[in-house]
């Protein structure tokens, strides 16, 4: 409910209670000016606030009453029983409107003309017959038509969602008690003729069952109980070490009573989640009108109770998500009929308890999340590359909607599409230690599942130890615990000092709590470590700690303001043994883990910039047959496919598959593993100039970014392996994609001769200029295997930039046909420059006519090599280099 309105209701209800008493006193003591002006002031305040909040019906009643009271005060109208009754009657009318207002956040329809007319008449000095309404029970006759409460136009919630009267409304915080009052009085008396009097009697009945308690008082009570729980824990701890003790029995009782007390106090703070849903039917109704859709909101489990603090915090995210479902999820009626669905879309809210948490599901049977749209949006906004997306599951792709700034709504509407939304929802839910999950099927609908703790005050937490200090990690974000030893299958590996763990075929990023918290204890080489697998939304990481204790129910206390700036702590607590420990905030740690990784990346980027070479490349790691992982530059792969082996056909002794309307040859990467005739196998698809080929591998391991550092060359007799390199900290065979390309299409490149040994002394710097990424990616590894240090750029202009920045190369290899500046122009400019004037240049071209060769010589190229003749290229390079060396030594 709107905070302003909430305040108004609380304040006005209090004022009205005061007024009731004062008016009765006034009747006995009509000439007390202080009393009169006090009454006048209160009614005036109510009137003023109503005007401010835009509540015309309340305002008009209050205004008329104020008029009369003004006349009383000025002595123009005598105070008598009849007049006071009329004022009281108007106060009753105000109260009833307030009750409705509180329940629905709107004034009821209708007006109070009759009452106002009588008030005005009184103000004009007409006497009111003392026989008219008695104060407590106003005469229903004149009043009935005026204060008739028409049923709300909005759909009533499901029967189970709370329109029936609660049999025993428990004592609870003020706003709730009153809402319930209103519900029960309305439901109990459907007859509008009798509503006035009946509501009054009902009210008193409810008043006897429930009391209004200040929220602060409850909060204090809760804090005190928390202390009691802690003390109890301490006592129990002591008792455990005592063995036999006379205290055992009484302490057990104390234990039990404390638990009961804790439950009891917790219950006073509990409110049905229906309170947070109250305005949703209206939201959906308004949206269905606005958008021209037919929608039905079903609410289940509205009576599920949760802590009012949590309730307040989930209210907005819930509203947002229901709006989203209505706006994005549910289709237009015509589209629904076409899809074979019921014209009316259904949004279902479902809440229930599950193991100390409350689960809220927001489900719709609409069109689901459009995976393709999300993909293109993700690419357009640079959140992921098409290749990364190619290897993602639909569910992973759908998670993009939780990224900041992501919206698939093509237009910004008043409802949604502003790109702020699901990420905020997610952050808010996570802030209160909750999680949100998404399941969506295109065409069928979406389901969001929110899991939140029942209360924020007491949480269950895992106690861990690191460098002699203990910390608590909220249980909700802990997925599992893994223990690693040096010899166990699961052990910590490092990618360029970044620790990771293989966990069920996934790489889990690790963070050492010791490093994050800067714990200065010397880092001893540990035999074993515990890894707390923690999740924060979709990001999962492992937190490495020294020891894991138990889970404990802890009372969360806020961190001192001196430490608020440290986002790694969400609070602190006192354990059963009396020691104070910090509660770690998984989201803060997740941010820190990301930061470390981000920083590493940045470092790398800067290195790259500064050095002009040392290219880090992204590799696809996979396994085929033998144990060692194999790698191929990711940029060469155009797609990853999961090929159904039953679809594989044979043509001229080769495996082929129909792929996108064409035949694609399939090659096993080697013969070391059996290729089944059925089931699915992962296939790396290479394509260039409209031709595709697939390499069958056994298992795709990962995508890593690393520098290509080939240490062993040409280890395979057939030349299918370029060499071995350390990638992701492991010896990895780097596959020569070119070899397979020639296997698939003998004319892909010129026929390959038997591999010659091109080993060269290292650190020959080669600049490779080619506009085709494919060739750059193909040639760069080839050259680096041959011992050259390769810098690849995509245009002559970029190459000249390097020249200007003073970077020198031993040889330049350049394509001739390039968009923008072609190879001839580039060569002319390079030769004209001071720095590169003496750098030999080799031309690459796809077609080598004598005329081309002549022209390239004119432009300053020392040599000319056909693009696909890689052996020639290497031979030429070697030649050029030796010529250069000779010149140098001469």
């Amino acid at each position: 409910m709107d905070e302003l309105l909430q305040d108004f209701l609380t304040e006005t209800n209090e004022n009205l209670a005061v007024l009731d008493n004062q008016l009765v006193t006034l009747e006995q003591n009509p000439n007390d000016p202080t009393l009169l002006s006090s009454i006048f002031r209160i009614v005036h305040t109510i009137k003023g606030t109503c005007g401010f909040l835009g509540l015309p019906r309340l305002e008009s009643v209050a205004h008329a009453s104020e008029n009369v009271l003004g006349k009383f005060r000025d002595g123009l109208v005598p105070v008598n029983a009849g007049a006071v009754s009329l004022i009281l009657e108007s106060l009753d009318a105000i109260k009833r409107i307030l009750a409705i207002l509180e329940q629905t956040e709107r004034e009821p329809d209708g007006d109070d003309v009759d009452l106002i007319m009588r008030l005005n008449a009184l103000a004009e000095g007409e006497t009111v017959a003392p026989a008219t309404p008695a104060p407590a029970a106003p005469d229903p006759e004149p009043e009935a038509p005026t204060v008739e409460f028409e049923p709300e136009p909005e759909p009533e919630p499901e029967p189970e969602s709370g329109s029936e009267p609660k049999p025993e409304p428990p004592a609870r915080v003020e706003e709730d008690a009153q809402a319930e009052e209103a519900v029960s009085s309305e439901a109990a008396k459907p007859d509008p003729m009798t509503i006035g009097g009946a509501a009054d009697t009902k009210e008193s009945a409810v008043a006897h069952q429930s009391i209004r308690v200040n929220v602060d008082l409850l909060e204090n009570l809760m804090t005190t109980i928390s202390e009691l729980v802690l003390t109890r824990n301490q006592l129990l701890q002591i008792l455990r070490t005592q063995g036999e003790s006379a205290f055992t029995a009484p302490l057990q009782r104390l234990n039990q009573i404390t638990s009961e007390l804790q439950d009891g106090v917790m219950k006073t703070r509990m409110q049905p989640i229906g309170n947070a849903w109250a305005k949703l039917p209206r939201v959906v109704r308004d949206l269905s009108v606005e958008l021209g859709k037919k929608m039905d909101l079903q609410m289940r489990g509205a009576e599920t109770e949760l802590d009012r603090q949590v309730l307040e915090l989930v209210k907005d995210p819930l509203t947002h998500m229901v709006r989203n479902s209505a706006d994005h999820g549910i289709e237009m009626p015509a589209d629904r009929v076409r899809a074979g669905k019921n014209e009316t879309g259904v949004i279902t809210l479902n809440a229930f308890h599950e193991g100390g948490h409350i689960i809220i599901e927001i489900k719709d049977d609409g069109k689901g999340l459009p995976v393709e749209k999300i993909k293109s949006k993700a690419v357009a906004s640079g959140m992921a590359s098409a290749l990364q997306l190619a290897s993602m599951s639909e569910q992973q792709i759908q998670q993009f909607i939780f990224r900041p700034g992501f919206s698939t709504a093509s237009e910004v509407t008043s409802v949604s599409g502003r790109g702020v939304g699901m990420d905020v929802v997610k952050t808010n839910i996570e802030k209160i230690g909750g999680t949100i999950e998404l399941f969506s099927q295109e065409g069928k609908g979406s389901c969001f599942t929110i899991k939140i703790p029942l209360t924020l005050a007491i949480v269950s937490a895992l106690i861990v130890e690191c460098a002699g200090e203990r910390f608590a990690i909220p249980q909700i974000s802990v997925l599992e615990l893994v223990r690693t030893t040096a010899t166990s299958e699961q052990r910590i590996e490092e990618i360029n000092t970044t620790p990771v763990l293989r966990l069920r075929n996934r790489l889990l990023p690790l963070a050492f709590l010791r490093r994050i918290l800067d714990l200065d204890e010397p880092e001893k080489k540990q035999e074993s470590a515990y890894i707390v697998v923690t999740h924060m939304g979709t990001s999962v990481f492992g937190l490495v700690v020294d020891k894991v204790y138990d889970t404990e129910e802890i009372v969360v206390k806020p961190v001192t303001s001196l430490l608020r700036h440290i986002d790694l702590y969400s609070g602190n607590t006192i354990l059963g043994d009396g020691s104070v420990i910090m509660i770690l905030d998984p989201s803060g740690i997740a941010a820190r883990v990301g930061e470390i990784q981000g920083a590493a990346k940045e470092d790398k980027a800067q290195q790259k910039k500064a050095g002009g070479r040392d290219d880090a490349a992204t590799f696809m790691l996979f396994r085929a047959g033998d144990g060692s992982p194999k790698a191929v530059p990711l940029s060469l792969i155009s797609r990853l496919e999961d090929v159904d082996m039953t679809k594989v056909e044979h043509s001229s002794g080769q495996r082929v598959i129909q792929y996108r309307g064409r035949l694609m040859p399939l090659l096993p990467i080697n013969d070391n593993f059996p290729i089944p005739d059925e089931g699915n196998m992962p296939v790396l698809v290479f394509s260039d100039q409209g031709r595709c080929m697939g390499l069958i591998v056994q298992e795709i391991l990962d995508i890593v970014e690393d520098r290509l550092h080939v240490d062993l060359h040409g280890t395979s007799p057939d030349g299918s392996i370029l060499g071995s390199a350390i990638i992701a900290g492991k010896a990895t065979d780097v596959i020569d994609a070119g070899y397979y390309l020639t296997q698939a299409f003998s004319d892909w490149f010129s026929v390959r001769d038997n591999a010659a040994n091109f080993q060269q002394p290292a650190t020959r710097r080669v600049l490779l200029v080619d506009d085709s990424a494919f060739f750059r990616n193909l040639l760069a590894p080839l050259l680096s295997v041959a011992g050259y240090d390769v810098t690849a750029v995509e245009s002559g202009a970029q190459a000249l930039d390097l020249c200007t920045s003073g970077i020198l190369f031993d040889v330049i290899v350049s394509d001739l046909e390039m968009p923008g500046m072609n190879g001839f122009e580039f060569a002319a400019k390079a030769q004209a420059s001071e720095k590169w004037a003496n750098t030999p240049m080799i031309a690459l071209t796809s077609h080598s006519t004598p005329k081309d060769i002549e022209r390239s010589h004119e432009a300053g190229f020392a040599d000319h090599v056909a693009k696909f003749d890689r052996d020639r290229l290497l031979a030429t390079l070697a030649q050029v280099m030796s010529r250069k060396n000779m010149r140098k030594s001469a």
Binding site: E227, L230, T231, E469, L517, D518, L519, K557, T560, S561, L562, L563, H565, I566, L568, N572, I574, G578, S579, V580, I581, M582
Partner: protein, 158 residues
């Protein structure tokens, strides 16, 4: 200087020692005086914060007063703690030794000497001339504000 907590002719101060220097805190601000306590370390906390202690179920943040005054760390026997409350949060000030409560006449009060070390001046609320020594009044509010300002935004060890 700030003498708002001294009303009337006399003021009662809880005295404590840091090295050879005597300090005083107005007695009405002091909630508790504690003997040696087990301090729980808080990683990444600012240097002036040496940890937290459990004060009968409430958590009090422990401030190293020596550190605030640029004094060398204490050697030897255990420290004592003066517990104060500010904005509903508890702080325990770690000092060498807590002494008696003294009732001092305002006629002996003087503002901070202008040549006082800036670090001291920042948290001293004046000086009382005692018979054989000088007593520096510790302004708790300013001490806490200072720690707050110095720690804010600094995310690693200072």
């Amino acid at each position: 200087m700030n003498v708002q907590f001294f009303t009337g002719q006399a003021s009662d101060l809880v005295t404590f020692m840091l090295g050879a220097q005597t300090f005083g805190v107005p007695v009405l601000q002091v909630q508790d005086v504690l003997n040696n306590q087990k301090i729980a370390r808080i990683p990444l906390a600012p240097a002036q914060v040496c940890g937290s202690i459990n004060l009968r179920g409430r958590i009090a943040t422990t401030i190293n007063v020596r550190r605030c005054l640029n004094l060398p760390p204490k050697t030897g026997s255990a420290s004592m703690f003066i517990v104060v409350e500010n904005k509903e949060e508890l702080y325990s000030l770690m000092v060498d030794k807590v002494g008696d409560v003294m009732s001092l006449s305002m006629t002996d009060f003087e503002p901070n000497p202008i040549n006082l070390d800036p670090a001291w001046k920042a948290i001293a609320g004046g000086v009382f001339r005692l018979k054989d020594q000088l007593l520096v009044v510790l302004d708790v509010l300013r001490l806490l504000n200072l720690v707050h300002m110095q720690s804010g935004g600094v995310s690693s060890k200072a």
